[in-house]
């Protein structure tokens, strides 16, 4: 069982979204990657407590997902929409991640890429990576 000390948590904002924590903890693959996976860097430790991503980010992710999966424009997507429930296979997920990398000018590690299962998770990861970019890289 991964133990969390306060030094290993990164707080992006004063308030903590408890639903975000329970989402991450409940998902077996992310839990397993903490307990059993190999860490290349602290960046691959996905259990971070942060505010949910901005609605604009969620919208941009939804648009990219719709395009990749060739969904009709009026398909109702929410932040909780699961890629697999929309018919995405692993190749689709990787293509979605590539499109997100291009759109947001970020670089996603492969272990993170394969672990994204919902629009919310993709949006959160994007905002996390965008924030971490050094100031000189501002696009």
């Amino acid at each position: 069982m991964a133990s969390l000390s306060t030094t290993s948590l990164s707080f992006k904002a004063p308030s903590i979204q408890s639903t975000r924590i329970s989402q991450v903890l409940r998902k077996p693959s992310s839990f397993q990657s903490i307990a059993f996976g190999r860490f290349q860097s602290s960046r691959s430790l996905r259990l971070q407590i942060s505010c949910a991503a901005k609605p604009e980010t969620v919208q941009k992710v939804s648009d990219i997902v719709k395009e990749q999966l060739a969904l009709s424009a009026d398909t109702a997507l929410t932040a909780e929409s699961k890629f697999s429930a929309l018919g995405a296979d692993s190749l689709d997920t990787v293509e979605i991640v590539m499109a997100l990398e291009e759109k947001f000018n970020i670089s996603v590690e492969e272990s993170d890429a394969q672990n994204i299962t919902t629009i919310q998770e993709a949006a959160d990861l994007i905002e996390d990576l965008v924030q971490k970019k050094p100031a000189t890289e501002a696009s």
Binding site: P28, S33, S44, A85, L86, S111
Partner: protein
């Protein structure tokens, strides 16, 4: 038998579905591949029978799929897994609806035999819109991945490969003269690499795609090697690369429309001998068709 079952189903009669024909476990050298073409399954009463085999949780997940086609395919995928495993009856007949499943510690699905009659049976499933396949082995782990041959990649194939594949695989793809050939070879490599990761069963982070190379084994037909990739600089192919065995691969064309890659662990008993793949197309309880000469690539 098949004709009367289908006509009863079509007339909406409530019927007892015939039992699955029992089979022996695959030998150590074999992988059995079973596949369904969803377009061939149209009867709503047959689909209803299938849904009765699923656990409440499985049915719930089917309902979470967005749209009728995805729901149907999810139902067929679980039906394929349950009915396929139930065919391999070692001692007593297995009711496909009674099988229980669990996940290994990395999330790979496996049968939970509940400590009665543990046959050494392994399975793995893969699906696309138009084909669902299940691979079965005995004694060794198995991974399978299928892709539509015509699948279009939205990104530039070489850019995609540079981002995710190994250096040697990028070199291989870059050297191909025709973009369409690049695309099909890219997809074949994808299925082989996915099949390996799924056979390994430790999640994607255990074997990132750029850390291993799969290449055609020179001098064989349909043989593939798994090699480690040096992450730093590209070294000449085959010189310092570690290409030890440990895993067997087969790449097939199914139904004229899909590539299917199968990967199994190479255990000592069958070391060196190529994988023998036995392919059957099925509509569970209705018809099974042995594919006498599966097309190996």
């Amino acid at each position: 038998m098949r004709i009367s079952v289908m006509s009863q189903i079509q007339r909406g009669l409530s019927i007892e579905l015939p039992s699955l024909v029992p089979l022996q476990l695959p030998s150590r050298m074999e992988t059995h591949v079973w596949y369904i073409l969803p377009d061939e399954v149209k009867s709503t009463s047959l689909l209803k029978h299938y849904s009765q085999l699923l656990s409440p949780l499985e049915n719930e997940k089917v309902l979470q799929m967005r749209g009728d086609e995805l729901k149907k395919n999810a139902l067929l995928a679980r039906t394929l897994v349950r009915t396929t495993i139930a065919r391999y009856q070692t001692n007593n007949a297995v009711d496909p609806g009674s099988l229980m499943f669990k996940k290994n510690m990395y999330g790979k699905p496996e049968v939970d035999w509940q400590n009665c009659n543990n046959p050494p049976l392994h399975f793995n499933i893969s699906h696309t819109d138009s084909l669902i396949a299940c691979g079965v082995t005995a004694h060794v782990p198995v991974g399978i991945d299928v892709e539509d041959k015509e699948r279009k990649i939205k990104h530039d194939v070489l850019a995609f490969a540079k981002r995710f594949y190994s250096i040697d695989e990028v070199d291989y793809l870059s050297a191909l003269p025709d973009p369409e050939v690049q695309r099909t070879e890219f997809i074949k490599l994808w299925t082989l690499k996915e099949a390996y990761v799924k056979a390994l069963g430790k999640g994607f982070s255990a074997a990132p795609f750029n850390t291993f190379t799969i290449q055609v084994k020179a001098g064989t037909r349909g043989g593939y090697n798994l090699c480690e990739t040096s992450e730093t600089t590209a070294t000449p192919l085959g010189k310092t690369r570690k290409c030890d065995g440990g895993w067997k691969f087969a790449l097939l064309e199914l139904a004229g429309s899909h590539y299917a890659a199968v990967c199994t662990e190479d255990d000592q008993a069958s070391e060196g001998s190529p994988m023998r793949v036995i392919v059957r197309k099925t509509i569970p309880f209705v018809e099974d068709e042995l594919i006498t000469e599966p097309k190996l690539l």
